[in-house]
């Protein structure tokens, strides 16, 4: 009895350490994360941590301010967050599409929870409505092959329980928010993210390789369950050529065959 409880405890602790929530915990605390540089102009407010890795260049803070967090310049925390971001980005990229919206402008659409894919670029002009259908844990994932661009004064409106915590934008290259845009959700971009003058992001700006450029913005991430409530995509499977026993078996077979053939050649001498 005691032993089974102990085993249960060990398994529980192991599961805790390997859960996706823990894997993304470091990343969840970041409002802005860049790969090469973070540049700011004007009185930008970032709620949560601001970090950069592997680059080190952060300019414009102040006048920009970081609240409810601190700055991490290529330290262990930022490096771990970048590693988490790669995991997060790949998870999003692996989510199966529920609809392909290639060629459609997101402005004027009302979308239910799901995974919306764009083979190339995505554009938002006007207002996009996300309807949570009464589920506060509803998730909306946008998989974009190349760029995400929003026109000036565009917005994302959340209704019926939808929360910015459940919105993610996986951008294959760069994201650019036009002046005065009010976007919701976490942007995970492979290259860079630019928030033009006066735009706001109710979520996170996370760039893997490139820069994050800010100009008089407000970036505040949601206080909900963070990134872990996004659906887990199908696993990527590694395909080892051979298991170790098979490899050992092949070595023995080759040794055997080689010995027989070598003996045969010796006999025919």
């Amino acid at each position: 009895m005691r032993r089974s409880r102990l085993a249960g405890l060990i398994v529980g602790i192991a599961a805790l350490f390997y859960s996706p929530a823990t894997a993304l915990a470091q990343l969840s605390s970041f409002g802005v994360l860049g790969g090469s540089a973070i540049t700011n102009t004007g009185p930008t407010g970032v709620n949560g941590n601001l970090g950069i890795s592997p680059g080190t260049s952060v300019t414009g803070f102040p006048p920009g301010v970081v609240t409810a967090g601190s700055m991490h310049l290529n330290d262990a925390v930022a490096a771990q967050a970048q590693s988490d971001l790669t995991t997060f980005y790949n998870q999003l990229a692996g989510s199966p599409c529920t609809a392909n919206l290639t060629g459609q402008d997101l402005g004027g659409l009302t979308l239910m929870p799901g995974v919306y894919c764009f083979d190339s670029s995505a554009q938002l002009t006007g207002t996009l409505i996300l309807n949570g259908a009464g589920n506060s844990a509803a998730t909306f994932i946008f998989k974009i092959g190349s760029t995400l661009t929003t026109a000036s004064a565009s917005s994302v409106s959340l209704m019926n329980g939808a929360s910015s915590c459940g919105v993610a934008w996986q951008v294959g290259s760069s994201a650019t928010l036009g002046s005065g845009t009010a976007l919701a959700g976490t942007i995970a971009a492979l290259t860079s993210i630019t928030l033009n003058t006066g735009s706001s992001l109710n979520g996170r700006a996370l760039a893997r390789n490139g820069a994050v450029t800010l100009d008089t913005n407000n970036v505040s991430f949601c206080s909900g369950p963070g990134l872990s409530n996004l659906p887990a995509p199908p696993e990527v499977s590694g395909v080892p050529t051979m298991s170790l026993p098979a490899l050992a078996g092949l070595a023995l077979l080759l040794a055997g065959l080689g010995t027989v053939l070598a003996r045969k050649a010796q006999a025919s001498r």
């Binding site: 590694g238 395909v239 040794a255 080689g258 010995t259 070598a262 010796q266 025919s268 001498r269």
Partner: protein
């Protein structure tokens, strides 16, 4: 000229294996190994696109539009199988010209089969995960063992011929 001693074969075969697998553990060779895997994924991706298929590539991951992905991780690029074949070819008593032919042709055949394996698993996985597991764990493993054995056997038969003829003339 070439001593076809079975004992000598086993000794050289084991030595070559130990050396090559040992080298595979060094950071420099591991970096080359990872680059080679990336090239194989690029090649597989290119072949799929050339045949009209759909796939995206992210480093060593090949992903289907539906989300399923296969990754060429460490040990997936058939370098380990190639090392075994190379060790056997180098250990076998044959002229160096024949050995060079065996190393080159054997590598090409094994790597070509591995690319076919990778692409086929990419498609089988999209169709059915149980079939993917079966093909990955049993079918392709058996086929690669068979392929390596046949390649070595065919090469060794040809390689032993001139040596045997030369010795017969003595």
């Amino acid at each position: 000229m070439f001593s076809p001693s079975p004992f000598r074969f086993v000794l050289i075969f084991g030595g070559c294996m130990l050396f090559a697998f040992g080298a595979l553990l060094t950071p420099a060779v591991q970096s080359l190994d990872a680059r080679f895997s990336s090239v194989l994924v690029q090649l597989s991706h290119g072949l799929i696109l050339a045949c009209g298929g759909h796939a995206t590539r992210d480093a060593a991951i090949l992903r289907a539009p539906g989300g399923f992905g296969v990754e060429m991780r460490d040990g997936c690029n058939a370098v380990n199988v190639t090392i075994l074949l190379w060790s056997a070819v180098l250990a076998f008593p044959a002229p160096w010209k024949m050995k060079a032919l065996g190393l080159a042709a054997g590598s090409v055949i094994i790597q070509a089969l591995n690319v076919v394996r990778f692409i086929s698993l990419f498609y089988v996985g999209q169709y059915s995960i149980p079939w993917f597991e079966f093909a990955h764990a049993y079918l392709w493993e058996s086929l690669l063992v068979l392929d390596t054995m046949v390649v070595f056997w065919v090469w060794a038969q040809r390689a032993a011929r001139p040596a045997a003829t030369a010795h017969a003339g003595v």
